[in-house]
């Protein structure tokens, strides 16, 4: 055991953790909107919209995240037309490509989580709102969404942890996140176990925090 290496690599890995957290929070933020959008489409009776949303979530859940990142980072740059548009400012940066891929991926999972949450809402709640003469829009925002959020908390907590692990793939498109830096230190020192303990410890610590945060929220918003 090389304890010196563990101590010297700790600040470097901690710095890289900031990148990981930035990637995670940005992709979760965009992913939540994407997920909500597609979940609402799934609830529509229009077959075309419904199938479109289903296809989106099927494709993104059925293929590895790595393929999605590579298509966006390496693949989209190949389209000449894209290079002339304003989109290219975003798509030439590996950082934003990774975030786009993560957001689309987590959006697909989130849409499934939210859809099942919407579907488990008892019809009585909506009917009660209707009989009170509340407009449909307000029923949706004030009754359905809060209940759905509470319902989907446990599953969404898992999704956050999965996404946190997913951000490690950013290291494959040259980003130096926690895994990227860990790999760099491993390949220069050839001490995989020590680096794994430190980097893995940081990841586990983040998992622990997220897990407890979700538990706290679940308790706070449980029906009494």
């Amino acid at each position: 055991m090389d304890f010196d290496l563990m101590i010297t690599s700790f600040p470097k890995l901690l710095n890289a953790t900031v990148v990981t957290l930035k990637l995670l929070s940005l992709s979760l933020f965009f992913g939540l909107f994407i997920g909500l959008f597609f979940a609402i489409l799934r609830l529509r009776k229009n077959i075309f919209l419904n199938k479109f949303a289903y296809g989106y979530s099927y494709v993104f859940r059925g293929t590895p995240l790595l393929v999605q990142i590579f298509i966006i980072y390496f693949g989209l740059g190949q389209i000449e037309y894209l290079r002339t548009t304003i989109l290219w400012v975003v798509l030439k940066e590996p950082y934003w490509c990774a975030i786009i891929a993560f957001a689309l991926n987590t959006g697909a999972y989130t849409s499934e989580i939210l859809r099942s949450a919407f579907q488990t809402i008892k019809p009585g709640f909506i009917e009660a709102g209707k009989s009170l003469g509340i407009p449909n829009k307000i029923i949706f925002y004030k009754i359905q969404i809060p209940i759905a959020i509470r319902q989907s908390l446990p599953a969404y907590g898992n999704e956050i942890i999965l996404m946190m692990k997913g951000t490690s793939l950013a290291s494959t498109v040259t980003l130096l996140d926690l895994t990227g830096v860990a790999k760099y230190i491993i390949s220069t020192t050839f001490k995989p176990i020590e680096v794994f303990i430190v980097a893995g410890g940081i990841y586990l610590f983040m998992t622990f925090i997220i897990h407890n945060l979700i538990k706290y929220l679940e308790k706070k918003y449980s029906y009494q």
Partner: protein, 230 residues
């Protein structure tokens, strides 16, 4: 579609073999995962505190750390660990482990952690009366497990195991970083030499979709089979 021609002019046959490699790695990893689950599920269900701790340590660490990090650990540390063990037995030559084995083993460790959780949940949801009844009948532990508990456990575990299979199948794309030529690695090579990454990565996505779709169909059949009588 010339890019996908079989033979020396296209990448069709290479991608076909790469797909077979992905399937082979996934199945091997799944089997290795079952072996891990067979070891760690009893530990997690054990009444002894320290055995419990070992089981929980395994599933928590593996499920809380990115797959890529586990793969790097085994890829860079695997041959070192084996050489160390070999040196104890007096063998000091350089040993290089096969990429297929490192890959399947690292994905196997990961899928094992998920399988352990699935089996634990399935066993815990079997009615207590089943255990008591087999004890009253004086069945041996082995027969109790294989003839009473396992058939019921499998029925409950199959839907969740199909999720584990999907995760495992998708995780195999990560071992392309170790150089094993599976779908992802082959697409990377093809994309590099033809300068057509969009096509090849999209094709890889289609291949993965096809694999997940077909395996879902197969698993649904298994589910029906184990659910007869319910």
């Amino acid at each position: 579609m010339n890019l996908l021609a079989f033979g020396n002019t296209g990448w069709g046959d290479e991608l076909f073999y790469a797909t077979l490699m992905t399937i082979a790695v996934s199945i091997t990893a799944m089997i290795i995962g079952f072996i891990f689950a067979l070891i760690f599920t009893p530990l997690k269900l054990s009444k002894k505190k320290y055995l419990n701790l070992i089981g929980n340590f395994y599933t928590t660490v593996i499920r809380g750390v990115p797959e890529l990090l586990v793969i790097y650990l085994l890829f860079f540390g695997g041959s070192g660990a084996i050489m160390y063990v070999a040196s104890i037995f007096g063998y000091n030559e350089y040993i290089e482990i096969n990429a297929f084995l490192t890959g399947s083993f690292s994905i196997g460790i990961i899928s094992g952690a998920y399988s352990t959780e699935v089996f634990r949940g399935a066993i815990q949801s079997i009615d207590k009366g089943q255990f008591e009844a087999s004890k009253v009948l004086g069945l041996k532990k082995k027969i109790e497990f294989f003839k009473v508990i396992m058939p019921q456990m499998l029925r409950l575990a199959i839907p969740n195991l199909s999720n584990v299979w999907q995760i495992t199948l998708k995780d195999t794309s990560l071992i392309s970083v170790t150089g094993l030529v599976e779908i992802m690695r082959q697409s990377y090579i093809a994309a590099g030499s033809t300068r057509d990454p969009l096509f090849f990565y999209s094709f890889a996505a289609v291949l993965y979709l096809l694999l997940t779709y077909l395996s879902m169909k197969l698993i649904n059949r298994l589910e029906v089979k184990y659910n007869r009588g319910f």
